[in-house]
C-alpha cells in the first residue's frame, strides 16, 4: 500500500450542526467584533505619540553640569556592540583643550545607525554614564553617510549653567569630584577662560552691563 492510498482523516474536532452551518462566514467574526471598537491607528507623522519612557531610541552623549563631556573615549561601548556600529578614537586632554575631566576624552565618536540594533548593550557598558539612549526614533535619511552620526550629532544640548567644551575643569577639582557629582555648574574661572579664548562662543552667559 502506498501513501496515496491512505484516505485523509482530519485531526480537528468535528463541528456540530450549527458550527457546520456558520462555517462559511466564521472568519468574519474578528472583523465584526472590532468594527465597533475605537481604532488604534496612529496618524504618524501628523500625530506623534510619546514612546514608553525606556524606549531605546537615538543615543546621546551626556555632559557634566559644567558642560565638560562625560565620554572618556574608553571604547567599552564599541567593544560591547554586537553589530560593530560604534567607532571611537580617544585622545589626551591638554591644558589648551580639555574636553572631559581627567586625562582622556573621545575625539572621534561615531554611531552607524544603519548597523545599530538598539539593543542598549553600549549604554550598559558605559562606565561614566556618558552614553544613554533618548526616545528619539526618527532616524532616516537619503544617504548612508548621513546615518553615521558623529560626535556633534550625538552630544546632549547644553543645559543652563553649562559651557561648551573645551574648557578647563573647575579649579581645584579632580575627575573624582565630577563623578561624585560635586560639580554642579560652570564657575566664574571657566566662563572667563572661554570668554578669553572663544569670545564669540554661543554658550557664554549674557554679559549684564551696568
Amino acid at each position: 500500500m502506498t501513501r496515496a492510498d491512505v484516505p485523509f482523516v482530519s485531526n480537528l474536532p468535528r463541528k456540530g450542526a450549527a458550527g457546520r452551518f456558520f462555517a462559511p462566514v466564521a472568519g468574519f467574526g474578528v472583523t465584526m467584533r472590532n468594527i465597533f471598537r475605537r481604532p488604534k491607528t496612529e496618524q504618524y507623522p501628523r500625530q506623534k505619540l510619546p514612546t514608553e519612557p525606556r524606549y531605546h531610541g537615538r543615543h546621546q552623549l551626556n555632559r557634566h553640569p559644567d558642560g565638560l563631556e562625560k565620554c572618556i573615549g574608553c571604547e567599552l561601548c564599541a567593544w560591547a556592540c554586537p553589530a560593530d556600529a560604534i567607532y571611537v578614537e580617544a585622545d589626551s586632554n591638554t591644558p589648551e583643550a580639555q574636553y572631559s575631566p581627567g586625562e582622556r576624552y573621545g575625539s572621534v565618536y561615531q554611531i552607524n545607525y544603519l548597523r545599530c540594533i538598539f539593543c542598549g548593550l553600549c549604554i550598559e557598558a558605559c562606565p561614566t554614564r556618558a552614553l544613554t539612549m533618548t526616545n528619539d526614533y526618527e532616524l532616516q535619511g537619503p544617504t548612508r553617510e548621513g546615518l553615521i552620526y558623529e560626535k556633534q550629532d550625538l552630544l546632549a544640548p547644553l543645559a543652563p549653567g553649562m559651557l561648551l567644551a573645551p574648557h578647563p575643569m573647575v579649579p581645584g577639582t579632580t575627575d573624582a569630584d565630577y563623578y561624585r557629582g560635586d560639580v554642579t555648574q560652570a564657575v566664574r574661572k571657566q566662563i572667563d577662560w572661554v570668554r578669553e579664548n572663544r569670545p564669540d562662543d554661543p554658550s557664554l552667559p549674557e554679559v549684564h552691563h551696568g
Binding site: 574608553c74 571604547e75 589626551s92
Partner: protein, 835 residues
C-alpha cells in the same frame, strides 16, 4: 666504564611531583617553569623568563614539601614563591589547582595588590591586555573589603619624552627596573622610598626630597638632560604587567581589541628583529617586539618600536609624478609616467650622446628589490653601475664582501656572538649601529671579553665592560696589523681572538679606511677568529646577496669573471652581461655631479647623508627617475617619480647580518607597489622582460642562480695610509664619527617623542688635546673642507685618543657629511668658543 659513560651522556634530571603529576626537568628549573611544562599555569606578575627571578609580587605562592635528610617529606610552614624557587629531587608541590592553602594565599595577594590599584581600567592603555586585569578576574575576588581612600600620585610622571609612568597603577613587580639593570644596562629607574610609599622612579629631586644634588656616574653621562633616556626603554612598556608604563605616542590612541597585529620584520637596522605591527583601519598605531629566541629574543630598540609614523606623513607620494613643460612636478597616470621614464632612460642609454645611467637603490631595500635594481641595471640599462651602499664604500669592501660574505649563508649568529669568549669590534658601535646586537653582547657580560678598536670607550661599550684598543680614526688598519702575540692589550687581543669561537665584528665604517678590510681579514686568518660583517642599514646584506654591488653578481660571483657572467646570463635568458667594471655609489654620484652620466635611477637615498658635492650629482643628472615613499630632496630633482611601498605595506625579505632570511608580508593592504614590481613594469615599457613582478618570481629566479666559490672575487688586498700620511695625521686633528641610533634619519621623521630621547649631541675630545690646542670655552667649533661649521657643546672625555674629535654623524646641529663634507678618519680643524 660503560656505566660511567652512560651516566655522562644522560643529562642529569630532577624528578618531583606537582599537583600529583610526576615531572622530570633539568636541575635548576624554577617551579613555575616546571609547572608550565605540564600545563599548570601559576598566576604571576614579576616573573619573566628573560629576567632574573625576583619574587617581588608574591602572586605565585604555592605549597611545597621537600624530603628532609631522613627522606621524610617536610612541608614548608608557609607558601613559597614558585618563580624564585628551584625544583629539587622528590619535592611535592601543590599549586592553586589542588591546594586550598595556595589558592587562598594567591587570593590574598591579589586583594593586597588591588588595594592601591586605581579602578581606571577604562582609561588605561593596558585595559584589555592587562595581566593584572585578567588574573584579577581568574584568581581574584569581585568584591573589595577595602573601603579607605586609595594611595594616589601625580600622574603621569614623564620619565622621558616617550615613556610615561603612572605610579598609582604600579604593583612594584620591578620588571622595568630589572630590565633596565640586567638587559639594557641603563639603570635610570629604580625603586625609591619604603613601605607604602615605595615607588619606581627616575632621579627626581622632588620625589626624593633632594636639594642641590645631580645625577652622578653613568647617569650624569646622559647628556639629554632627562635621566631615562635608554635606546631600549620601550621594552619596559611591553613587559609592564599593568598599565603603569605607557608611551606618549600610543597613549589613549586605541584599545587592544581594536588592533590587528601583523607579524613583520623591523627595517631600521641589519638585525632583522621580529616585530608585530599593530594597526587599525589602515593606520599603524604601535609596533611591539615579536618573540624570536634566535634573533632578538623579546627585545627591540626604541627606533624599531616607535619610528613608524614616517610612512604616513603628509608628504607621502600616492600617484606617479612627472615633470611638466613648466619644470614643475605634476601628478600623472601610471601609463604616462612609465612611458615618460622609459623614453628618458632609452635616450640616456642609447641616445647619440649617451654617457650611461647609474642605479642607486639605497640601503633600505629588501632582497627582492635589490635583485630587481641590479637586474634592471645590468639587463635594461646595460651597466654595472649599481650600488646599494649609499655611504662611503670602496673596492676593498666589495672584495671583502664578495670573498667572505656574499652567498655564505648563515655565518656567525646571534647565538655565536653570545657564546663567543672574546669579541673584537672594529668600525662598529654595537649600541648605536647594532641595536639588539648590543643586547646580545651585554647578555654575555661577565663570560665574554669585548675589545673595541675605537678612539674612546662609548657609553654602549662601557656597558659591555669593553677594553679599548686605542685607535686613531682612519688608521684602523694599522691598529689591526699591530695585533701580535705579546704583552699588553695588543697581546691580550691576539690571545683572545685565538680562542675557539672568538668573533671579529667589522662595521660599515671600516669601508672608509684604506687597508681596513685587508687588515681585518689578515687578523682573522692569523688568529682563527670568525668574521662577522654587521652593516647599519637593513637592506645591505640583502643587496650583497642579490648582487646590487658594481662588482658582484647575484650569488657572490665576480662581475669580472666571464664564466660567472655567462652563468647568470643563462638564468636570465640574455645574450650577455655588461663588461665594463661598475662604479661604487659615491663614484657614481661624483661622476654625475661632473656631468659624466646621462641619467640616474634612484631608490631610497637620503641626500642629507651625503657630502654636498656628491648630493649635487642628483641635481646635475640630465634624467632622474626616483622610486620613493615620500617627497624628498631626491624627488625634488626627479623627472619621473614613482610611488613605492614602505616595508609595512609590502611583502619581501630582509637578510639580516647573520645571513638569515627574514621574510615578511604586508601588514597593511594598500595599493602601493614594491620597487621590484615598478622596475618590472618599467622594463616591460622599455621592451624587456625583467621577470620580477612578484616576490615569488624573484625567489624562484634567485634559487636558480649558480653559486660557485671559485668565481668569487679575490680577497681584499689594499695598503693602508703610508708612513708619511700617518705622520701627517698624527699632527692634525682627526674626525671620529658615527650615526647615533636615534638621530635625524628620515625614517624617524614624525615622531617627536622618540626624538626627545636621543642623546644630546656633543663634541668629544681628550683633556690633553683640549690643552694642547688651547681650546677655551664650552663650545667646540669644527670645520672641514665644506663651507659649514658644526658647533656643539664640548664634552671633555678622559681616556680618549689624543688628536681626535668625535661628532655624531647626523644629529640635530651636527650633520657631518652635509655641513663639513668629511667622513670618519678625515682631518678637521677645531676651535673653542663660549657660545
Amino acid at each position: 666504564m660503560t656505566v660511567k659513560q652512560e651516566w655522562a651522556m644522560t643529562p642529569p634530571t630532577v624528578t618531583a611531583i606537582i599537583d600529583g603529576i610526576r615531572v622530570t626537568v633539568p636541575p635548576g628549573t624554577l617551579i613555575i617553569r616546571a609547572a608550565e611544562s605540564i600545563g599548570i599555569e601559576i598566576p604571576r606578575f614579576c616573573d619573566h623568563p628573560l629576567l632574573e627571578p625576583a619574587g617581588a609580587c608574591r602572586q605565585c605562592l604555592v605549597e611545597i614539601a621537600e624530603p628532609g635528610p631522613d627522606g621524610k617529606l617536610r612541608p614548608y610552614l608557609k607558601p613559597q614563591t614558585s618563580c624564585s624557587m628551584v625544583l629539587t629531587e622528590g619535592m611535592v608541590v601543590r599549586t592553586q589547582v589542588t591546594s586550598k592553602v595556595a589558592e587562598r594565599a594567591q587570593r590574598g595577594i591579589m586583594e593586597l595588590l588591588l588595594i592601591n590599584h586605581p579602578l581606571d581600567c577604562p582609561v588605561c592603555d593596558k585595559g584589555g591586555e592587562c595581566p593584572l586585569q585578567n588574573q584579577a578576574m581568574t584568581t581574584g575576588q569581585a568584591d573589595s573589603r577595602f573601603t579607605e581612600a586609595k594611595r594616589t600620585f601625580e600622574k603621569p610622571l614623564t620619565l622621558s619624552t616617550e615613556i610615561l609612568l603612572d605610579r598609582e597603577r604600579c604593583i612594584l613587580c620591578q620588571r622595568c627596573t630589572r630590565f633596565s639593570d640586567q638587559i639594557s644596562g641603563d639603570p635610570f629607574i629604580e625603586l625609591q622610598e619604603r613601605g607604602a610609599r615605595s615607588q619606581v622612579g627616575a632621579f627626581d629631586p622632588e620625589v626624593l626630597d633632594f636639594d642641590g644634588y645631580a645625577p652622578t656616574g653613568l647617569a650624569a653621562e646622559d647628556e639629554s638632560g632627562r635621566p631615562f633616556s635608554s635606546y631600549f626603554s620601550g621594552n619596559t612598556i611591553q613587559i609592564c604587567p599593568v598599565g603603569a608604563l605607557t608611551s606618549a605616542g600610543y597613549r589613549f590612541r586605541a584599545r587592544p581589541f581594536d588592533l590587528v597585529a601583523s607579524p613583520s620584520i623591523a627595517g631600521h637596522d641589519s638585525s632583522g628583529s621580529a616585530i608585530a605591527i599593530e594597526h587599525r583601519r589602515g593606520k599603524v598605531l604601535r609596533v611591539l617586539a615579536g618573540n624570536d629566541p634566535e634573533v632578538n629574543e623579546e627585545w627591540i630598540t626604541d627606533k624599531d618600536r616607535f619610528a613608524f609614523p614616517w610612512s604616513s606623513l603628509d608628504d607621502r607620494i600616492t600617484r606617479p609624478l612627472v615633470r611638466g613643460e613648466d619644470g614643475e612636478l605634476r601628478e600623472a597616470t601610471w601609463p604616462e609616467a612609465l612611458a615618460r621614464a622609459a623614453d628618458g632612460l632609452r635616450e640616456a642609454v642609447s641616445g647619440a650622446r649617451s654617457k650611461g645611467v647609474g642605479v642607486l637603490p639605497g640601503g633600505r631595500v629588501t632582497l627582492e628589490d635589490a635583485y630587481a635594481y641590479q637586474k634592471f641595471a645590468r639587463v635594461v640599462l646595460g651597466t654595472n653601475d649599481v650600488d646599494a651602499r649609499s655611504r662611503i664604500a670602496g673596492d676593498e669592501e666589495e672584495a671583502f664582501l664578495g670573498s667572505r660574505v656574499a652567498g655564505s649563508g648563515l655565518g656567525v649568529t646571534f647565538a655565536d656572538l653570545e657564546a663567543a669568549p672574546v669579541v673584537a669590534l672594529i668600525g662598529f658601535e654595537p649600541e648605536d649601529e647594532g641595536g639588539v646586537v648590543f643586547l646580545r653582547l651585554r647578555k654575555a657580560r661577565g663570560r665574554q671579553k669585548v675589545f673595541t678598536f675605537a678612539p674612546f670607550v662609548s657609553r654602549g661599550n662601557a656597558k659591555l665592560d669593553a677594553t679599548l684598543v686605542p685607535t686613531v680614526p682612519g688608521l684602523e688598519g694599522a691598529a689591526l696589523d699591530s695585533i701580535r702575540r705579546g704583552s699588553g692589550t695588543v697581546g691580550d687581543v691576539f690571545d683572545g681572538l685565538s680562542q675557539e669561537g672568538a668573533v671579529l665584528v667589522v662595521g660599515e665604517r671600516l669601508a672608509g679606511v684604506p687597508g681596513g678590510f685587508t687588515a681585518a681579514v689578515a687578523l682573522a686568518d692569523r688568529t682563527g677568529a670568525r668574521l662577522a660583517w654587521i652593516p647599519r642599514r637593513a637592506g645591505e646584506r640583502g643587496a650583497v646577496e642579490a648582487g646590487a654591488l658594481p662588482g658582484l653578481l647575484p650569488g657572490g660571483s665576480s662581475a669580472q669573471s666571464a664564466e660567472a657572467r655567462e652563468g647568470v646570463a643563462r638564468v636570465w635568458g640574455v645574450s650577455g652581461l655588461p663588461l665594463a667594471p661598475g662604479r661604487a655609489a659615491y663614484d657614481i654620484l661624483g661622476l654625475a655631479s661632473s656631468g659624466g652620466l646621462s641619467g640616474l635611477v634612484v631608490g631610497g637615498l637620503t641626500l642629507s647623508d651625503l657630502p654636498k658635492t656628491l648630493a649635487n650629482g642628483i641635481a646635475k643628472a640630465p634624467f632622474l627617475v626616483s622610486l620613493e615613499v615620500r617627497l624628498s630632496d631626491v624627488t625634488a630633482h626627479a623627472d619621473v617619480v614613482f610611488p613605492v611601498a614602505p616595508s609595512s605595506e609590502k611583502a619581501g625579505t630582509f637578510v639580516n647580518w647573520e645571513g638569515r632570511l627574514r621574510p615578511f608580508t604586508a601588514a597593511l593592504q594598500t595599493s602601493a607597489l614594491s620597487d621590484h614590481r615598478v622596475l618590472d613594469m618599467l622594463a616591460r615599457e622599455m621592451g624587456v622582460t625583467l621577470g620580477t613582478p612578484t616576490v615569488e618570481a624573484v625567489t624562484a629566479e634567485l634559487a636558480r642562480i649558480p653559486i660557485d666559490d671559485s668565481l668569487r672575487p679575490p680577497p681584499p688586498s689594499a695598503s693602508g695610509p703610508s708612513a708619511a700620511e700617518a705622520a701627517r695625521r698624527a699632527k692634525a686633528t682627526t674626525l671620529a664619527t658615527w650615526h647615533a641610533l636615534i638621530d635625524q634619519g628620515s625614517l624617524q621623521d614624525g615622531e617627536p617623542f622618540l626624538a626627545g630621547t636621543a642623546r644630546v649631541p656633543v663634541a668629544r675630545m681628550s683633556p690633553a688635546t683640549v690643552a694642547a690646542l688651547g681650546i677655551e670655552g664650552r663650545v667646540l667649533k669644527v670645520s672641514g673642507p665644506g663651507r659649514g661649521t658644526i658647533s656643539l657643546p664640548l664634552a671633555v672625555t678622559p681616556g680618549m685618543v689624543d688628536g681626535v674629535v668625535w661628532l655624531p654623524m647626523n644629529s640635530p646641529g651636527s650633520t657631518v657629511a652635509r655641513t663639513l663634507g668629511v667622513a670618519h678618519g678625515d682631518t678637521v680643524s677645531v676651535k673653542g668658543s663660549e657660545s
